[in-house]
Symmetry: C2
Subunit: 685 residues, 2 copies
C-alpha cells in the first residue's frame, strides 16, 4: 500500500539472524532483546524493484527484489555461524492483539513451505496464502505459539514445537535453521495468492522457479525500466528524480489481485475466474478518481480498463450492490466519502477506454441509490444530506453532486434519457448547501436551516471531511460557472481563490490535524490532502487564467521535494504523484468524465510522452523557469492555440506543443467564452 | 457425527420463536431466560429423514427433513403473533470460548442468506459455508456480536446492528422477523458446503429449490427406504427395530463431503475437484476398519470404493503423507491409535471393490513409515514400541502388526516381493510384546525388560488404549494360531477365552472409565468398546468353535436393546451396528484383508440379503431361539458345509443357507485343520 493514510498487510515477516534464536521482534529502543537488527542508511541501495541493506547486528547482507506475485530475498550470512530464518506470522502492519484470526504453516519438504493467514485488520477479512521456496535445505525447524492454545484435541500427542510439519495457531512464530557455514547464501522466494496455497505454488512456479536472485533482480529492473520509459524529459537531477519517482508511484497501486491462472478472491469471499481481464485491488477512490485514474487512462488505458472491469465485478459481488469505495484484497474498507468509482467509470467511457456503457451505468445507478450509505436516503429525498444525519453532510453532498454528474454523462452516452434527467438534477444538488449570503458551502439541518456558528476555516466538526469549507466549497468541478454564481459572481470568485492561496491560516486550524501540516499549505490551500487538488486550475473559468500558471509552479516546487518526507502529504496510492505528472505536462483533468484537461503551464523545458497508440507528444518550453512561468502563447502542431483546455483527442494526436514562456502573464489569452472549459450550466440560476 | 466419543459441528443453529426477542440460548435449568424452548417427548415423531416436535414455550411446530446437502425446516407459528428466527453462529457442539474464529453472514435479499464460519474445534480448522433460503420475506433483521469487537475500521460509520446486510464477527447471533400473522408457515432450507457460499447456493438449487417441505420429506423417506431395503427379515418387532436401526446407523458416517459439482476442501485446505469419485469424510478408523467398512464392501461396495479413494486423496494431500487416522471435514483429528486405513484399503482390494493396488500400496507404505507418528521410529527399529516412549506402547504394537499384515497382503497382490517380505516380518512384531510367562501381551521398555507391577485387568496406565491386556492380548486377528502359541497353546487359549467371558470384573476396573460401563460387560469382555469385537469369534480356531455361537447371542440380546441408551456403548460411526448386522447374519470379518468371514450362528429365523450384484442370499434358521442357539448343521445351496468360515465369493454367489439349530452344541463340526480360518502362521515359533 503506497502512501495511504491507513495501512494493513505485512502478513509474512521474514528475518534472517545468527546466534541466539529470538522469536520476538524486540523494541526499537533495545534491538538486542529481539530478532530485529540495527542498520545504517549508508548501507542501503534502492531502485525500482531492488533494495539492499546490511543488518549490522548479524553481519547479514539482505537483498530484495520481486516479480509481480513473488517477493525474492537473498541473505548472505557470515561464514562462521549457523543461520536462522524467522517467519513471524503474528506480526502485521497496523497490528493489534487479535488481528490474526488464524495462521497455518506446512513444511512441505526441506525447501518448500506453504501456508496462509486470515486477518481482521483494516481489510475486514483478509486471506493471504503463500508458498516459500528456499535455496538450501532446512536443517531443523520449530515454532512457538505466542497465543494461548485454546483447544488442541489429539494434536497434543505430538511434539508439535519441533520438526513437526503442520503448524497452526493464532500467533505463530516459526524458525528454520540452516547450515550457513557450508552455504552462506540463502535465497527465499515468497509467492503470494489470495486464493490458496495451490495458487501460491502456481505463482511461484510461473514467475520465479529456476531463476537466480540476480536474474530476477535484472528482470525486475528491466520491467520497471519499461514502465518508466513512457517519458523522456529534460530538467535538473532533482526534477528528473521527482518525475520518475512520481511515475513509479502511479504504478504501485492499484495492484494486481489475481493468480497467474486468473483465479481471484472476490468481495463475496468466493473464488472467481477472471475472464479477459486482470483483477485489481487497492482502490483508494476518494483520492484516485481525481488524477490517478485519468493518468492511467492516458498512459496505461488497458490497465485502467482492467481496473474498471475489476470495480464492476466488485459491484456485482457486493451484497450492497455498490462499486468500491475503498477496495482492499477482496474487502470493502468504506474509507472516506462519496461513490467516486462512478467518476472512474465515466471517465474511462468518455475517453474510449471502457466500452460496456450499459453494464457500467447499471453499476453506477445501483451504487448511488443505496439508502443506508452515508446520507443517501435523505440526499435523494431532500437534495442534500442534513447535518443532523451525517457529520460530513456538506462535503458528501458536494461529492455526490459531482458523482451524479458522471452518471448523468454515462446515461446520456447509454441513451437512457430518464436516468440522465434524474442524475442531471442530482448533479445540481450542490446548490442546496450553498449559503449565498456568505458565498460558501454550509451544512444544513433536516429542517432546512443552516448550521449556526459556522467557521469556514475549521476542518473538523463543520460538516466536511478532511477539508474546511473554504477549500471544499470549490468542489463543483462539473459546474464551475454555477458555483461561481453562488459565490457571488466572477469577481468575488477570483478574490476568494486569491485569498485562499495567499491567506495566513492561523495555526489552530492545523495544529492537531494529521491531514494538514504547515508544509502542505499554500496560504489556506491544502495540497497535502485531495479535496483541493483541482482548485488551482479554477482560474481557467475566470478572466485571470494566468493565475493558475503562477500557483501550480509554486506547488510543484514546494510540495514535491526530492528528499525524505519530500511530499507535502501522503501520496495516497498515486494521486499526489499523478497530480504532479499532469501538472508538469501542463494540463490537469479538473472534471474527470469530460474529455477535457485544463491547461496550466509546462514545468520542464522538454518532455516527450510515448502515447499508448504508438504516437508521441513532445511538449517544449525551452525558456521555462521559476521566473518565466507564464504561458505567453502555445502552438499545437504549428497552430496557435488559445483555449484554456485541451481534449483527450488532442493529446492522442501527438505531435509537438510549443509553449512560449514569459516572466509576465499574457492577460489576453483564453478569455473568450469558447476558450473556457466545460461547465454544466452557465451559472445563471 | 453418529455415536462418536468426541464431537464437533453444530455450526448453524436455527431457532424459531415468538414474543420477546432473546439472543442467548439460556440455561436448561431456566429455559425462559433464553431462546430455548421446553418440549415434551410425547410430541416427537421421528423416522429416517424426518423429525417433528412441538416447541411448547412458543406453540411452534417444528418439522425437519433433509436432502444430502440441505437441511430443511418447517416452522408453523401460532397465528396471532410475530415470529422470529434466530441464527446463532456463536453456538456449537463441543463449544468453548474462542472456538469460532470468524463468522460471516450476508443478507443477499429478503429470502436468501449466505455465510460461513471458520472454527477451531475438534476439527482443527473447519470451514462451514451455507446458503439459507426462506419461504417468506424477512420483515426486518439484525444481530448482536457477543464478542468484543477488536477492530472495525470504517465499518463503524454504519448502523451495523439493524438491517445492514453484511454481518461479521467472532460471536454473531442474528435474528430475522417475519409477519407470521399473515403467513404462519416458514420453510427454511439450509444448504451446506465446505467450499464456498457459491457452492452452498449450487447445492441448494440442485437439491431443494422449487420443492415443498412435504415433497422433500417424502423424497427423504423414499431415499432412506431404498437404502434400508437391502434386507428382508423375520423376527420380533424389537428385533426388526434393532436390525433396521443398525442398518440406518451404518449409513450416516462416513458422510459425503463434496459439493454437487464435485468440488471439495482437501486436507491441505485447498479446493479440489473429485474426478470419478464421491469424496467422503468422518473416518473413525480405529472403530470402523473392523466391521463397518467390511459391511459396506458387502452391501455398498461402490460407496466403500469412493471412501477408499477419498482416503488415498487424503494421503496425497497430507503433509505427513499419511492415510487418515480420524478424518473430519478436511482435517486429521489424530484420534486413537494405529494406521487402520491400510486395513480398509487392503480389505477393499481383497474383495475386488478397489482395484488400484499400486496406488494403494504406495499410500500404505508411506503411512506406516512416518517416524514421528506414535512410536513408529522405535517400532521399525526395535520391532515394538517401548513403554518409555508411548503410553499405548503395547496396544499400538499389536495394532501396527495387524495393519502391517494388511500391507503385506497388498504388496503380495501388487507383486512387490521386497515390500511384502518387509511387512510380513513387521506383521510378526506382535510377538515382541508377548510375555509367554504370563500368556498376555505386556509392554516392554527400550531396554527390553517388561513393565513391572503389571495388571492385566487395568485399562489405563498399563500400555494399552481403551482396553486392558486381557482383552487386547487377543488382538492378533491375522495370526490366531501364532497368538495361541504365545498364550500357551490351544487349551490355555480356550481357558483364557472362557475366563474372559465368565469372570467377575471387580468394579474398580470400570468405575472411573468412560469407555467401560457395567452394561457393556460380558464377564471381563468389553463389547461397548472396539478392541474386543472379534474376540467372541476366536473359538473358531480352537476345538470348541460352538462357544462362539453361545456368546454372540448373549451379546446381541444384552448389548442391543430397542430403547433409549439401548446400545452397550457408543455406536462409533456404525461399528457397533455393523458388528450387529454381521453377527445377526451369522458371520463376521475377524481379519479384514482376508476374504474370509468367520461363522457364528444366525440370530433370526429368516433373513434375505439383496446383494449388490443383483443376487439374493437367504439365510434360514427357522428353529433359532435363545435356547436353540447352536448350529447343528449348515447347508449352503443344498450342500453340507462344515468349515468355520465362508468367503466373500461364497456370499456373492447368493442362494440359500439353511441352518439347522439345536439347543445343544454340535461338538464335532469344524474341527479339521482345513475347516479353520486363515492364520499367518501355524503357531509353531
Amino acid at each position: 500500500m503506497s502512501g495511504t493514510g491507513h495501512s494493513d498487510l505485512g502478513d509474512i515477516l521474514l528475518m534472517p539472524a545468527v546466534g541466539e534464536l529470538k522469536l520476538n521482534p524486540g523494541r526499537a529502543e533495545n534491538p538486542d532483546e529481539g530478532y530485529r537488527s540495527r542498520f545504517n542508511h549508508a548501507t542501503e541501495k534502492a531502485a525500482p524493484g531492488y533494495y539492499e541493506v546490511i543488518l549490522d547486528d548479524y553481519g547479514i547482507k539482505a537483498q530484495l527484489t520481486a516479480t509481480q506475485r513473488v517477493g525474492v530475498h537473498k541473505y548472505t550470512f557470515p561464514k562462521d555461524k549457523n543461520g536462522h530464518l524467522v517467519l513471524d506470522l503474528a506480526h502485521g502492519i497496523y497490528n493489534y492483539d487479535g488481528k490474526v484470526l488464524w495462521a497455518n504453516l506446512r513444511v512441505e519438504n526441506d525447501t518448500l513451505l506453504t501456508g496462509y493467514r486470515i486477518t481482521n485488520g483494516w481489510a475486514r477479512t483478509n486471506y493471504t496464502y503463500f508458498a516459500i521456496s528456499l535455496s538450501q535445505p532446512i536443517k531443523d525447524y520449530g515454532y512457538k505459539d505466542k497465543a494461548k492454545v485454546l483447544y488442541n484435541g489429539f494434536w497434543r500427542r505430538f511434539k508439535l514445537e519441533k520438526n513437526f510439519p503442520e503448524i497452526t495457531g493464532r500467533k505463530i512464530v516459526a524458525y528454520f535453521n540452516f547450515d550457513t557455514e557450508q552455504q552462506p547464501e540463502l535465497v527465499v522466494k515468497v509467492a503470494l495468492s489470495a486464493v490458496s496455497t495451490e495458487g501460491a505454488i502456481k505463482n511461484l512456479r510461473a514467475e520465479a522457479e529456476g531463476q537466480s536472485f540476480e536474474q530476477l533482480a535484472e528482470a525486475a529492473r528491466k520491467s520497471w525500466n519499461d514502465e518508466l520509459d513512457h517519458y523522456e524529459i529534460e530538467g535538473t537531477q532533482d526534477q528528473k528524480a521527482m518525475f520518475y519517482t512520481s511515475l513509479y508511484h502511479t504504478m504501485i497501486n492499484p495492484s494486481v489481485y489475481m493468480d497467474v491462472d486468473g483465479s481471484y478472491r472476490g468481495l463475496d469471499h468466493n473464488i472467481h475466474q477472471a475472464k479477459d481481464f486482470t483483477n485489481y485491488t487497492i482502490f483508494s477512490l476518494w483520492d484516485t478518481y481525481r488524477a490517478q485514474h485519468p493518468f492511467l487512462n492516458l498512459i496505461k488505458p488497458d490497465r485502467n480498463a482492467d481496473m474498471v472491469e475489476s470495480m464492476i465485478k466488485h459491484q456485482q459481488q457486493s451484497v450492497h450492490g455498490m462499486l468500491p469505495v475503498w477496495s482492499h484484497m477482496g474487502n470493502e474498507n468504506w474509507c472516506m466519502s462519496g461513490y467516486h468509482a462512478v467518476s472512474v467509470l465515466s471517465d474511462a467511457i468518455t475517453k474510449g477506454v471502457f466500452t460496456n456503457t450499459d453494464e457500467a451505468l447499471a453499476a453506477m445507478v445501483s451504487t448511488s441509490t443505496v439508502p443506508y450509505y452515508e446520507g443517501v436516503a435523505d440526499y435523494m429525498k431532500l437534495g442534500y444530506i442534513p447535518l443532523d444525519k451525517s457529520g460530513t453532510a456538506a462535503s458528501s453532498t458536494l461529492e455526490y453532486a459531482y458523482d451524479d454528474w458522471t452518471i448523468y454523462q454515462t446515461a446520456l452516452k447509454a441513451g437512457n434519457k430518464e436516468v440522465a434527467e434524474n442524475y442531471r438534477k442530482r448533479a445540481l444538488n450542490y446548490r442546496n448547501i450553498y449559503d449565498t449570503t456568505i458565498g460558501f458551502a454550509r451544512p444544513r439541518y433536516s429542517d432546512g436551516t443552516f448550521k449556526k456558528d459556522f467557521d469556514v476555516l475549521q476542518t473538523y466538526g463543520e460538516g466536511f471531511i478532511e477539508g474546511n469549507s473554504w477549500n471544499f466549497s470549490f468542489h463543483v468541478p462539473h459546474d464551475v460557472f454555477g458555483m461561481m454564481d453562488l459565490m457571488g459572481g466572477e469577481k468575488k470568485f477570483v478574490e476568494k481563490l486569491d485569498e485562499l492561496f495567499s491567506m495566513h491560516l492561523p495555526e489552530k486550524y492545523y495544529a492537531d490535524n494529521e491531514d494538514i501540516t504547515l508544509d502542505c499549505l499554500v496560504g489556506g490551500y491544502v495540497h497535502g490532502n485531495e479535496p483541493s487538488h483541482h482548485v488551482p486550475y479554477l482560474y481557467a473559468w475566470t478572466s485571470q487564467p494566468w493565475k493558475t500558471q503562477f500557483w501550480i509552479r509554486d506547488i510543484l516546487n514546494r510540495m514535491y521535494r526530492n528528499d525524505i518526507n519530500g511530499l507535502g502529504g501522503n501520496d495516497d496510492c498515486g494521486q499526489m504523484s499523478a497530480w504532479y505528472l499532469f501538472t508538469v505536462m501542463g494540463f490537469y483533468p479538473v472534471c474527470p468524465g469530460t474529455d477535457q484537461y485544463v491547461l496550466g503551464a509546462p514545468y520542464l523545458p522538454y518532455l516527450k510522452l510515448k502515447l499508448p497508440n504508438g504516437k508521441t507528444l513532445e511538449i517544449k518550453a525551452p525558456e521555462v523557469s521559476d521566473k518565466k512561468r507564464y504561458v505567453h502563447s502555445l502552438k499545437i502542431n504549428g497552430v496557435a492555440y488559445d483555449k484554456m483546455y485541451v481534449t483527450h483527442e488532442d493529446i492522442l494526436k501527438g505531435g509537438v506543443w510549443e509553449f512560449k514562456m514569459s516572466s509576465s502573464p499574457n492577460k489576453r489569452r483564453g478569455l473568450a467564452a469558447e476558450d473556457k472549459p466545460y461547465s454544466l450550466t452557465n451559472g445563471v440560476n
